[in-house]
Amino acid sequence: MEKHILRLKVNGDEYEVYIHPKTLLAEVIRDHLGLTGTKRGCDTVSCGACTVNVEGKSVKSCSVLAIQCEGLEVTTVEGLEVNGKLSQIQRAFLDNGSYQCGFCTPGMLMSSTAFLSELEGKKPSEEEIRESIEGNVCRCTGYNSIVRAIDAVAQGKYKEE
């Protein structure tokens, strides 16, 4: 297979990379673009550390080929913050201590971000919150502090005045 020029938009910026068609989105993000906030923790699409948002939907970036994202908008953890201003879920993670070693945190934040935006203001049940991060493994926190953070944002506690 021949190498291929891929154009995609990551965190609002247009990038052009020259890749082998079998290159994973996770590899493009980390190795080609140097956005190492996105992590990888397994080889079996099981841990969720590599979760990013593609067109606003939560996607495990180790499970899709980069070429499947041709022309699409990708958001990584680096894209949540705007000029030093943290997003609601980032601030809620800080207040609730929703991270420890931090290795799963970028993936958790991206799953949560997609979930919260899909709610469109609807208040989720605790069960729905837990299901929204079912694909993300955290070995440190026991998840409950993450659930509290997502709930706080869903309840509007971090809305800008």
């Binding site: 397994c42 080889d43 953890v77 070693c101 290795f103 079912e134 440190c140 026991g142 409950n144």
Partner: protein
């Protein structure tokens, strides 16, 4: 007692690395890239026990992009181990010269210009083995006819440990009831989100820099220097953000060793990252243990004696397993007073993945056996399990004979609180039960098997002219938040604010030596070192302030919230920032430097202080399928003075998820020495939907040996859960679970056996 006098301690603060972690700025060893860096891969043994006859790397070297292949012959062949004070326990060559002893053991390493080429080269290394008979279970390996795993080690017994106090036989004679049980406790993978990772860079000056995912930069430095024949000072270890440890990351691992060996040959940086599968099959595990427990009790519930024998599956090498053998036997007596206690532990080599320390350090296994047997004995005698635990529990001022002195102990209050909580829940519906378990844990180990010539913990604090503070510590933040804890202790002691403190850690060149993150040692040991360093610096500031303020020498001065003042007349004082500027002028421009250190002395054999706790698990079991649903976990916890309340809740919840995983989900089944579930599809960890609500009741105690009264929190909480779940299952269904994990299959089997027994009656 109330400690409201603190301005920073026990107030809610954000972790100091929080912003880095929620924005993706935190870079781990996994993320480190250096100019000209090569990628390394490790070839691993497919055999559980085999002689290495020949390794031929010719074909691999011919592959374009391959820079080097190394085997044991390219190393100094030094047998290493973290118990480096004891030569016989240094039994592991990371790249073995003569034979392999478990499936997954490294035999060769490759460095190439890309990871893909290195991976492809592994298939081109030809290894000729002579397969040897293998043995996988400790009770088999200890038999006379079992194959020898390490030459000269009789019956494959790696280490033994005898603990005894009181007249055990006489104490048993006083018992009205004696019960004996056998238990089988499984292994568990640490399953750190960041797999084993290292980047080594050796330069022609003869200096090595190694970025490593480690729990102790200092141990890694010492071990690397030892196996590479370098001076410790010529090895710099950098531990940036570390993606979890849980007891599995302070030995020398193959990522560190192989990257360093190859970098030394090539004078180029080399990165080695374990795949998740490698992490499962070749990075050690919680020690599987077989326990025989014999306990004698009086009719009124007074404990008389306990005698236990334990055989642990040590796997192929010693690692930290020797410590786990000791601690398991010690904590098996906890948290109770025994007139006579005897423990004989045997750590047995097998041809499986080596076992080592993991959060709880042998105690979760010990408590699973002890705390269930106590409940069964209470049931047999018609006694109240809360009352029996209260009657026999440790109290302040108790001395565990010849072993430990208990200065602070909130066990009784923990039992009272959990009893109230359980009773308030009332009668449980069918197939649902609440189980309890109590335990205690260490606040750092007194052992020095590493033979460190340095203080156990050290800290250096430097105050800049603008009043900002540089705190250099050797303790390692692996996500548990030790950097934040140290910043809180420093801010409290110096009387400044959190934002005035900058913590530097994880760098052996710029930070003082410290044994690192294991055995719940950092809050107490590094915390004491930080407190002492800050008191030293503060004294220098206050000496000047006395002179500057011209006050009567009977007055005490202190600093709080950046205000230097007379303690008795807090309105009289001066601004901290102004004072610092003046002090520097008086010191000929020298910055204020404070030093602190801590090494435990005259604190017994085990630890300077002990935490206590009781936990209750509310579980429901479907008798048709054996499936368990955990409704709630409640813990009453005595960790002395809490330092970081948000961090403490995080530790409790995290410990509960890891310990629940150990109790009913996580298992490491081997077949012919091969791990059957080395991936996150088949290895089940707790995920968000299964995680129950968890509550914590803090018991207020003050530990005189701890900084501001603090002691252990977070590791000990891994200990009670499996036992509490076992007791919940017993209370729900009347079946006794003697094997971990408590799976649906084991529950259904126990239910069938119970039915058969009832039918026979």
């Amino acid at each position: 007692m109330s400690h409201a006098k603190y301005s920073v301690i026990n107030t809610p603060v954000h972790n100091i690395d929080g912003i880095a972690k929620v924005t993706g700025r935190a870079t781990y060893t996994f993320d480190v890239t250096l100019p000209g860096m090569l990628h390394g891969k490790i070839l691993r043994s497919p055999h559980p026990h085999a002689k290495i006859i020949n390794i031929d790397a010719t074909r691999a070297m011919e592959l374009s992009g391959v820079k080097i292949v190394v085997t044991g012959k390219d190393t100094l062949g030094i047998k290493q181990g973290i118990w480096r004070r004891y030569e016989e326990l240094c039994d592991e060559q990371v790249l073995p010269l003569e034979k392999v002893r478990y499936i997954g053991e490294p035999v060769a390493a490759v460095a190439a210009i890309t990871e893909e080429i290195a991976e492809a080269a592994l298939d081109l290394i030809d290894v000729e083995y002579e397969v040897l008979p293998a043995v996988y279970e400790p009770l088999e390996a200890i038999k006379k006819e079992a194959p020898t795993i390490h030459e000269g080690v009789e019956r494959n017994v790696n280490v033994t440990r005898h603990i005894e106090w009181g007249d055990v036989d006489e104490a048993f004679e006083e018992a009205d009831y004696i019960r004996e049980d056998w238990f089988k406790c499984s292994g568990q993978a640490h399953m750190c989100m960041e797999t084993r990772a290292a980047v080594s860079s050796f330069t022609p000056e003869g200096k090595l820099t190694c970025w490593a995912s480690t729990q102790s930069a200092y141990y890694t430095q010492g071990l690397l220097a030892g196996v590479l024949g370098l001076r410790e000072g010529d090895v710099r270890v950098l531990a940036p953000y570390v993606g979890g440890g849980f007891g599995g990351k302070f030995e020398l691992d193959a990522a560190m060793f192989c990257s360093a060996v190859m970098s030394m040959k090539l004078h180029k940086p080399v990165k080695v990252i374990f795949t998740r599968e490698e992490d499962f099959i070749a990075s050690k595990r919680r020690t599987p243990m077989f326990y025989y427990v014999r306990t004698g009790m009086k009719k009124d519930g007074t404990f008389c004696a306990r005698e236990s024998r334990m055989f642990s599956n040590g796997g192929a090498y010693t690692g930290m397993g020797a410590t786990a053998l000791y601690l398991s036997g010690f904590f098996h007596s906890f948290p109770y007073k025994w007139r006579g206690y005897r423990y004989d532990g045997y750590r047995v080599y097998t041809n499986t993945l080596p076992s080592t320390s993991m959060r709880g350090f042998g105690a979760p296994q010990a408590m699973f056996c002890s705390e269930q047997q106590i409940d069964w004995m209470c049931a047999d005698l018609g006694l109240d399990p809360f009352e029996v635990r209260r009657k026999n529990g440790h109290t302040e001022g108790y001395e565990v004979p010849g072993q430990a002195f208990i200065a602070s102990c909130g066990l009784e209050q923990c039992i009272n609180e959990i009893e109230k909580w359980v009773k308030a829940k009332g009668k449980m519906p069918p197939n649902r039960g609440i189980g309890i378990s109590s335990c205690g844990f260490m606040s750092g180990g007194i052992f020095n098997w590493f033979d460190s010539p340095y203080s156990f913990s050290s800290a250096v604090v430097t105050i800049n002219v603008d009043g900002t503070v540089e705190l250099h510590v050797g303790c390692q933040d692996i996500g548990q938040g030790s950097n934040t804890t140290m910043a809180i202790i420093a801010a409290e002691t110096l009387g400044v604010k959190m934002e005035d403190i900058k913590v530097h850690s994880g760098d052996t060149t710029h930070c003082p030596a410290d044994l690192g993150a294991w055995g719940s040692r950092q809050t107490l040991m590094a915390g004491n070192a930080v407190k002492m360093a800050c008191e030293d610096a503060k004294k220098q500031l206050l000496e000047f302030a006395y002179a500057e303020m011209g006050i009567n020498i009977v007055y005490d001065l202190d600093i709080k919230d950046r205000w230097v003042h007379i303690v008795a007349r807090p309105e009289r004082g001066l601004d901290y920032f102004e004072l610092v500027k003046k002090v520097l002028r008086a010191k000929d421009g020298q910055r204020v430097v404070g030093r602190g250190y801590y090494t435990p002395h005259r604190k017994g054999m085990i630890s300077p202080a002990y935490s206590y706790m009781m936990q209750a698990v509310d579980a429901e079991i479907d008798p048709e399928t054996g499936r368990i649903k955990i409704h709630e976990v409640m813990t009453a916890h005595d960790c002395g003075q809490p330092i970081n309340p948000l961090g403490l809740i995080g530790q409790l919840e995290g410990a509960a998820s890891m310990a629940l995983g150990y109790a009913y989900l996580e298992d490491m089944p081997f077949e012919d020495g091969k791990l059957m579930n080395p991936n996150l599809v088949d290895y089940k960890v707790i995920k968000a939907p299964e995680m129950p609500p968890t509550g914590i009741i803090e018991i207020d105690t003050y530990e005189p040996e701890g900084p501001y009264g603090a002691k252990e929190a977070g590791e000990g909480l891994t200990n009670p859960t499996a036992a509490a779940l076992g007791n919940a299952v017993y209370n729900a269904l009347g079946i006794q679970m003697k094997e971990l994990p408590i799976t649906p299959e084991r529950i259904l089997k126990a239910l069938r056996e119970k039915k058969e027994q009832e039918a026979q009656k």
